[in-house]
């Protein structure tokens, strides 16, 4: 972790931003609060596991995903009830076992299963869409030390597009927050 700021070598590449490493979750949390207080908006953190208290530190509200899932679940219920009612009582009614063509009693198991299935699909794909994943290329992946963000390093990245971004000042600012290593990220 002795590496300090590495200067951009290939001028033709555009600067994406800076990546700053921190050694502990505490250090990251402290730093990210400062980053936000300093008015940066286009910044992100990169951690090997979710850090408790990071959402408020980054100024993020709660995820809206549950609302999507609720709608997905209702969609599942509607689909299942329509399917069972239409196929059994409208399109091809058959007498079987003295049971009615359609009844909420026997429709319940399938309705429940489809509610769960639709909710689960909404959860997973909703989460991926909200996160903009899959995203197989990202400028951060070009930085060798970024590999440690999935192991034991806690990082902050600030994009060059941020209004407050200034290559020199931002790097100095991150150093002052106690970063253990800062790298410039090219796109």
């Amino acid at each position: 972790m002795g590496e300090k700021t590495t200067v951009a070598k290939k001028e033709e590449k555009e600067l994406y931003g800076v990546l700053a490493h921190f050694d502990t979750p505490e250090a990251l949390l402290k730093a990210v609060r400062k980053v936000r207080e300093n008015g940066y908006t286009r910044f992100d953190t990169h951690t090997p596991f979710p850090i408790h208290g990071l959402d408020p530190a980054m100024g993020m509200s709660r995820s809206k995903l549950p609302y999507l899932v609720f709608c997905g679940g209702l969609g599942g219920v509607a689909t299942a009830l329509l399917l069972q009612w239409w196929t059994g009582a409208v399109d091809y009614p058959l007498f079987i076992g003295g049971k009615p063509f359609f009844a909420i009693e026997f429709a319940t198991p399938v309705t429940f299963e489809l509610m769960v299935l639709f909710s689960a699909f909404t959860t997973v794909f909703g989460m991926l869409i909200l996160n903009g994943l899959p995203c197989l290329y990202h400028p951060l992946f070009t930085v060798k030390s970024f590999e440690r963000a999935s192991d034991d390093s806690f990082c902050i990245s600030i994009e060059a597009k941020d209004d407050r971004f200034d290559k020199k000042r931002t790097v100095e600012f991150l150093q002052s927050l106690g970063s253990s290593g800062i790298e410039l990220v090219e796109d």
């Binding site: 990169h46 769960v116 992946f141 999935s150 990082c155």
Partner: protein
């Protein structure tokens, strides 16, 4: 304070879930090395054996398809026998995986993080094994897609009044949701594998599978909620799946099958058998891969307690069924239960009772809950017992029909036996592959429960 109470205080303090003075990096190393290291010779040997057993399964199924379902020992009146027994057995095994990953998550049982990945994999492979039996029991397996409500040329629809169709929906939903849950949990860890991969091909494969995960705080926000919702969905799902399986029997009017306690009783039995299977496999994996720092005695002790609890619930259900069979005053009910205990299948019944109700009672004793040999043996005994439970329920209720002229006895054929044997081969083969390519311990989750992970310095809430 006396020394006794100090001792009590020590025991009451929250145990460390990760031992051996680990830091975040050593956790990554310890888990990754299992998949990254050179493939051990023992693995090849094991793989050769299990894939040969899987080949037996393939051969038996091919023989069945070529000849007909008659190669099984099913007869009149025992139209359901080993096939459904094995189906329920495997589905039940899967349930512990969901319990560990979902229910224990909702109850904030942090010890689950060391075993959940393993148990979820077990769920998937068990569901795959389970699916084989009803799939091939339909006879014409090449038209099994008729089970789904697809508009095909005959213009007919599946019968939604049939519990067997609910099974189709329940099991396929269960398989799908378990896969999603497992995969969502894997994404960050595959990202770790991607970042550690040396070869270009591995980097690409893990890179694609991790969907470009970069541990972003903005992503974790949605991710954590998604994971919680999936846990919340899986919990009622796991209850519903085995309840629907129990409906296969309980909606009928056959004595010994039609009883209202079946849904919760089946669920408890499923969790019970699943925990036994997790225990068996985990003890082996712990020993081979030296995972003592992750799967600690605390984990094993908790698993023993859950087995004791669910085994006792199963015992409660047996007793309630027996009591109500008498209390009902219904001659058929009474006969069925006496016949189970003292009839031609009494041997199976008493194997079931001694394995499922009596053997877990050993876990009342702390000393036995910390004895690896006892745990291993009991876990296997429970696996056997739970197979017999399904066998007893299915076969004993059928073999004495309402008319004595229709009474019969079931004996398995070699195809029955080898198909079941072969399914273990499939299960273990999938497991061996999983161990070689994916992180068998949820790396990011384990890091999250380590004391260093807590920014405020508080070790737990």
């Amino acid at each position: 304070m006396s020394s006794v109470s100090e001792d009590a205080a020590n025991q009451l303090s929250r145990p460390q879930l990760v031992l051996g003075g680990q830091n975040f990096h050593t956790v990554t190393e310890a888990v990754s090395r299992i998949a990254e290291g050179k493939t051990p010779k023992a693995w090849y040997l094991a793989f050769a054996i299990t894939s040969s057993i899987t080949a037996i399964l393939g051969a038996m199924l091919a023989y069945l398809v070529a000849t007909g379902v008659g190669v099984w020992g099913n007869n009149q009146p025992i139209g359901w026998a080993w096939d459904i027994t094995n189906f329920v057995f495997w589905i039940g095994i899967g349930h512990a995986g969901t319990l560990i990953s979902a229910i224990l998550f909702l109850f904030r049982q942090k010890w689950r993080t060391s075993i959940n990945r393993f148990a979820e994999a077990m769920t998937l492979f068990a569901v795959a094994c389970a699916g084989i039996y009803p799939l091939f029991h339909v006879g014409r397996v090449w038209v099994a897609w008729w089970l789904f409500p697809l508009p095909y040329s005959q213009g007919m629809w599946p019968n939604f009044r049939s519990p067997l169709l609910w099974d189709v929906f329940a099991v396929s939903t269960y398989g799908t949701v378990s896969l999603l849950f497992w995969y969502v949990g894997l994404i960050p860890d595959i990202g770790t594998f991607r970042d550690r991969a040396k070869s270009k091909i591995k980097k690409m494969i893990y890179g694609a599978l991790s969907l470009g995960w970069r541990g972003s705080g903005r992503h974790w926000r949605h991710y954590e909620i998604a994971y919680m919702i999936l846990a919340g969905l899986s919990t009622p799902l796991v209850l519903s799946v085995h309840s629907v399986v129990s409906f296969d029997f309980a909606v009928s009017i056959i004595p010994g099958w039609h009883t209202t306690i079946f849904p919760p009783y089946f669920v408890a039995g499923a969790i019970f058998s699943g925990f036994a299977m997790v225990m068996t496999l985990m003890l082996i994996a712990r020993w081979i891969f030296k995972l003592e720092n992750f799967v600690t005695m605390v984990h094993l002790d908790n698993m023993c307690k859950i087995m004791l609890a669910t085994g006792t619930i199963v015992g409660y259900a047996y007793a309630t069924e027996f009591f109500i069979a008498w209390y009902s005053g219904n001659a058929y009910e009474k006969f069925t239960f006496l016949n189970r205990a003292f009839g031609p299948y009494a041997w199976a019944y008493w194997i079931m009772v001694s394995c499922n109700v009596i053997s877990p009672q050993l876990f009342w004793f702390k000393s036995l809950r910390s004895n690896l040999t006892v745990m291993f043996i009991v876990s296997i005994i429970i696996n056997i017992g739970m197979w017999f439970e399904r066998f007893v329920i299915i076969v004993t209720s059928l073999h004495r029909d309402f008319l004595p002229s229709s009474w019969g006895y079931f004996s398995p054929t070699f195809v029955d036996i080898l198909t079941f044997f072969g399914s273990f081969g499939l299960f273990l083969t999938l497991f061996l592959l999983f161990i070689r390519v994916l992180p068998i311990i949820a790396v990011s989750e384990v890091k999250g429960v380590m004391p260093q992970a807590h920014a405020h310095g508080d070790s737990h809430h």
